[in-house]
Symmetry: none
Subunit: 220 residues, 4 copies
DNA sequence: GATGAATGAGAATTCATTCAT
DNA sequence: CATGAATGAATTCTCATTCAT
């Protein structure tokens, strides 16, 4: 499924020579890994070194950092969408459990690395990105819809809520050597998912009004 | 309470001239603000400029970035502990609600900026940090203890779970212009808190064993 | 006169520390020399080295190449204007000769280096530049006016004609080791000046019409 | 005449395949154009792109920049010599006018681009270059000889004087968008030519002695 | 003690040139 | 032969840190 679905969101490029294509993929993979580990600010020379290519090769493929981030983001979105679709396909009667499975699986795709998506340089409205996001959100929406219908998912939650939250909860800690990062992450996701279950246990601040009320409350 | 309690975690410094002390505080405040906005990687000259002092003055007070981060972290921890203690004092019968109030209030202290705490350069075992953390955790533990006793907070959650989670959920998005960042944040915290309520709705992966089980599940 | 007149076109800067001011001047001087020799494209590190400062010092004073060029240009304009004013003051009855003296003297100021003035990055409409140009053109105009009145300078020549022409004729040859560059230059200027004498020996193509005529002629 | 005379200065190359020969010429033509526009420092990839060939093709034909410059120079010299010979052939009684015609015509060949000729990398003593220069100078010498004999051209001017001067006067201004560049150029040439007419209006500094005298004069 | 200035080390990016298809 | 791809060396520019006033 991976290849097929991936192809869906990819714009047709001018045919690349086989070796160039391989390098291109290596670079994106290396960037994904190293940026997940050390943040989006890593020296691009480091990315190139990890990919096993010269720095200029990286620049040939991705003229600047923003362009590289764009493609890393696409890659993460695609892979995460694959996971969502897979979870959807594997659903076996417990819709909420399918949603849970997807959320925990998303960690493996380092979805926390999606944050660079929002960094200054990247064009969030680029058609490719919109398409990839769309595909992901559509799949997650399906998972959520089924869970909602099963009566296990509270009704006041949008797909955006979920995506941003799991992105934040899985963000790598700077400089972390991850010893038990995973353990924490999965605990947090589990707790967060518990909060998503019906019946709702609190009212969500969604309007400016409720938000302001909440703030008053905090002040004293 | 603020001043008194703050003093508690401060190690005794050699007496500073009044203006030097003021500069010192301005620098930490400026650093806290600018790092919250632009991440921990901001040029220190920028911090100095915001604080209205020369860069060399910053370096006189904080010999390197790690040292500055150390003090920013202390400051955030202290202020957040103030909030926790205040929430504790303001408790009026609903212990879980007091916990909720604290969590939402912590956003105002930009607790998400605590993440630099974990960055490479900072010594996480410095006595001052341990003390500040201790004070904060003690206060939050009190809040949680009361909530647990009231039967509203599930029992399988440690203070670390909560602190790391809210830190992550309130991390600033890079390059964000924050228009409705707050709205999202408070929604997520609300959902997360809902997940913390008793009765527990799922088992948390806390041991290596359950974690592995969870992973198996994700794989297919 | 030099210092006084130079001050005329300088905008008041915030007071610089004495050493900083010295560095600033050294850098401009070095840039003028090295750019005259090797063109405006020289590595800025080279300029810094020649000025005896670190490269970052250069960047502190002149944030980018365009800014440095701007100041080099100002410097050349100022020094050339000094020459023009000096020639004016030294006039002793032969106005055309005074003009000649200025033109040959301008070589010493490397007026050919003015060409960078026209390069892409520089703002030709910056007030400081306009002022410096104005001062120079005013002085040259005076020289030309006197020569015209003496009946030795043909009437159809504007100050711009002269300035651009001598700029071009004194442009350094790329990679030249200049042994007898000076000899050529002064010969060319002499010839060009001869062409400026009255009575006019040809009609100058100044309108589109005459220019087109000239082109036709060239075609066959 | 063009083809024949061009052949004269070309050393016999190993027979090239027709398409290779065409590529070679396209590259030189592209280089001439792009270097005239943007200076001799343009990226060679840009030249290749303009010529519609791959960069490696350029390198196959011209192993390095100096080699390409060499051939560009040859091309300009040849074309300019063509112009000179044509002017010579078209002479119709007014020898000085024929000289004028040639000078203005040389602009069209962008003779100002000859300056790269003198840049470091090029071997000015290469037989091909000497031959091309020779041919050009011989033709110009003929024009000048006739003009001298007609009594209209002053006697103290060598062919080198003229060639270097018109090269300088027609040098493209960096970053110029050429709107009225041509107008200026032709005006300057006209003035310069006027200075070449007999009777001489000044003594030319040709010896070290006269040059020094001139310098003294400039000093005060 | 406070400050502006100086600096070298390092990161991003470009480009001439070589290599593999 | 022609080409696109790869590469390292060079260049611009930034920034943490030190120095001189």
């Amino acid at each position: 499924m991976n290849t097929a679905s991936t192809a869906t969101t990819k714009t047709s490029q001018p045919r690349l020579r086989a070796d160039a294509q391989r390098n291109r993929e290596r670079i994106v993979a290396a960037a994904r890994e190293v940026m997940v580990e050390h943040g989006a600010e890593v020296p691009l020379d480091e990315v190139a070194r990890r990919a096993g290519v010269g720095n200029a090769t990286l620049y040939r493929h991705f003229p600047d950092r923003a362009d590289l981030l764009h493609h890393v983001t696409l890659s993460v979105l695609d892979r995460t969408a694959d996971r969502a679709e897979r979870a959807l396909a594997a659903e076996d009667g417990d819709a909420f459990q399918a949603l849970r499975a997807f959320v925990h699986a998303a960690v493996e795709e380092r979805i926390g690395a999606l944050c660079p998506l929002l960094s200054d340089g990247v064009d969030k409205d680029h058609p490719d990105l919109l398409a990839a996001r769309d595909r992901l959100e559509r799949a997650v929406e399906s998972l959520m819809g089924a869970a909602r219908e099963s009566g296990r998912l509270r009704a006041d939650i949008a797909v955006g809520d979920l995506m941003v939250a799991i992105t934040q909860l899985t963000r790598p800690l700077p400089g972390n050597r991850c010893t038990d990062f995973d353990r924490f992450v999965h605990r947090h996701l589990q707790l967060f998912l518990d909060g998503l279950m019906a019946p709702a246990r609190s009212e969500l601040p969604g309007s400016a009004a409720t938000l302001d009320g909440l703030r008053q409350q905090c002040r004293r």
